[in-house]
């Protein structure tokens, strides 16, 4: 029996990709596979986690570990995937990326992850502290 992890939008969702994910899950379960779904936000899936954030990627990684196959709908660029998930995916024998149907919204991109924010801050980009400090400076006579 194959253990398959499907990552993607899952019902109930406004994202049309949710229907495609559900159709695949039905097909896999009917074929006798053990299927676990991980959606980016809470849904009918038993797990959820935003792969672009460290905490979310860690949750997805926990589900992915030990899988024989991962199918990822609407996967973002590799650079936008936080490292715990990148490491977990590297151990899976078969990882497939599938685009959502036409009109599907993009999966969350990296600007929400704290790893990405940290890299931006190190490069001198805006942070909460810097923004507040700038405002205080501007208010001073």
């Amino acid at each position: 029996m194959t253990r398959v992890v499907v990552i993607g939008p899952y019902p109930p969702t406004a994202d049309p990709a949710g229907d495609a994910v559900l159709a695949l899950v039905r097909e896999l379960r009917a074929g006798g596979d053990t299927v676990e779904v991980v959606s980016p936000v809470p849904s009918a899936a038993p797990h959820h986690g935003d792969p672009a954030t460290w905490a979310g990627a860690s949750r997805v990684a926990r589900a992915v570990r030990g899988a024989d196959r991962v199918v990822w709908f609407g996967a973002p660029d590799e650079g936008a995937v936080a490292s715990p998930l990148r490491r977990a995916l590297a151990t899976v024998p078969r990882v497939e990326h599938r685009p959502g149907p036409t009109g599907t919204r993009e999966a969350p991109t990296g600007d929400r992850g704290w790893t990405v924010r940290l890299a931006r801050a190190r490069a001198g980009g805006p942070t909460f502290v810097r923004t507040v400090a700038d405002r205080v400076r501007r208010l001073r006579p």
Binding site: V41, P42, A44, A45, P46
Partner: protein, 401 residues
């Protein structure tokens, strides 16, 4: 009429299920499932472990059990977020009349109590059921579950004109289900206007058990209540019109100079405002026998809720022979009063006062008799279950889906 064949398994999918749950929708699903099981149907109740949506998300243990009726109950673990922020903020926005965009609607829905194991069970086993009955319309179990096998899904929406009913999120279940069972004509009329693409629909009503007998003096003695009183029985919540009732009642007895108490019964603690304390007696949660005694003892039973899809309380009051005074803002309550030729409706304290005065008149009991006749004619369980079986046979004949 020959009974249709009772072949095939029926699945009932309420968000919560238990003999200790108070609420019209919960009781309807429970009694319908038990009633059909007692008639020989194979019935499964597929539900979560929740008793209270916010406080007791996993109150009941997961697993299987069999009810005295023969219905099998299968519970799956319920899941809820720690903060419930999307749910709480969404509820506040809806109450304030703010629109939720599509994403916010789905976040609000998915921040309800979810039951992923139930969803998986439906994915694997929906084809084994002749019909899957979901309700009420607004819970996650109905939104998500009815998507799995819409061709064999029947909604019992318990719908009324409230802010949540206007969310686009619900369009899919009302459009794609095999059919929708309504509890009253006003509910069906509202659904047809809100969902022009509505699936096949029928009004089945709701059954109410006829009490064997009631003893008004037993209730008075047990709770130390003297003199005439009006009764409120149900959840003491803002949405049920409870807070407004307390204000209106105090104003009404003041305006009409009435010597009448308001007895309030229902689950949970309740805070009575200072100005109402002299007029209100809280007797807490009543068991069925005590409730029937209370209704028989009451001069009037008040239904203040503006949001009703059926109003079981009115039926129970009429079965006990009590007069009913209902909030006219509920089209369903007003419809029952008109059809029954019994009860009265009010809007505001002055009309409530006049209705209370009329209910205290010696001839008021005749009104309750007309109401009782109406309930016995329309809403006994045998009558409702006959309608359900005819619809199952018509919409979902054996081997159809």
């Amino acid at each position: 009429m020959a009974s249709p064949p009772r072949a095939g398994r029926l699945g009932f999918v309420p968000v919560r299920f238990g003999d200790d749950l108070v609420g019209g929708a919960e009781m309807l699903m429970r009694e319908m499932a038990d009633g059909l099981a007692a008639r020989g149907w194979a019935v499964d109740v597929l539900t979560g472990c929740t008793r209270d949506h916010f406080r007791e998300v996993n109150h009941y243990p997961p697993g299987e059990s069999v009810r005295p009726s023969g219905a099998r109950v299968v519970r799956f673990p319920s899941v809820a977020s720690m903060h419930r922020a999307d749910r709480v903020l969404g509820n506040r926005a809806l109450a304030a009349g703010t629109q939720l965009d599509t994403d916010a609607q789905y976040r609000w829905c998915n921040d309800d109590v979810r039951v992923p194991g139930l969803f998986d069970h439906l994915l694997d086993h929906a084809h084994e059921y002749r019909a899957l009955v979901f309700g009420p319309y607004l819970y996650w179990t109905t939104v998500a579950g009815s998507m799995v096998a819409p061709e064999r899904s029947v909604l019992v929406p318990c719908l009324h004109d409230e802010p949540t009913a206007h969310l686009r999120l619900f369009d899919r279940e009302f459009r794609d289900a095999r059919g929708v069972w309504f509890l009253s004509e006003p509910e069906a009329a509202f659904a047809r206007s809100r969902f022009p693409f509505l699936a096949d629909a029928a009004v089945i009503g709701s059954g109410v058990d006829v009490p064997a007998g009631a003893d008004p003096e037993r209730f008075r003695a047990r709770h130390g209540i003297r003199g005439p009183f009006a009764l409120y029985a149900g959840r003491r919540e803002k949405g049920k019109g409870f807070g407004r009732l307390l204000d209106d009642f105090v104003d009404a007895v003041g305006l009409e100079h009435l010597d009448v108490t308001l007895v309030v019964a229902g689950p949970g603690a309740v805070t009575i405002p200072d100005r109402a304390r002299a007029h209100v007696v809280d007797v807490g949660l009543l068991d069925v026998l005590d409730r029937d005694d209370a209704m028989a003892a009451a001069s009037a039973v008040i239904q203040p809720s503006p949001y009703e899809s059926f109003s079981r309380t009115m039926m129970e009051a009429w079965l006990a022979g009590a007069s009913v005074i209902a909030n006219r803002a509920s089209a369903v309550s007003a419809w029952h009063c008109e059809r029954a030729g019994a009860g009265s409706t009010y809007s505001g304290a002055d009309e409530l006062g006049r209705a209370l005065r009329a209910a205290l008149e010696p001839g008021a009991r005749e009104d309750g008799v007309r109401g009782r006749d109406y309930v016995l004619r329309e809403y006994t369980w045998p009558a409702v279950l006959d309608r359900v079986e005819v619809l199952l046979d018509g919409w979902l004949p054996v081997g159809s889906a």
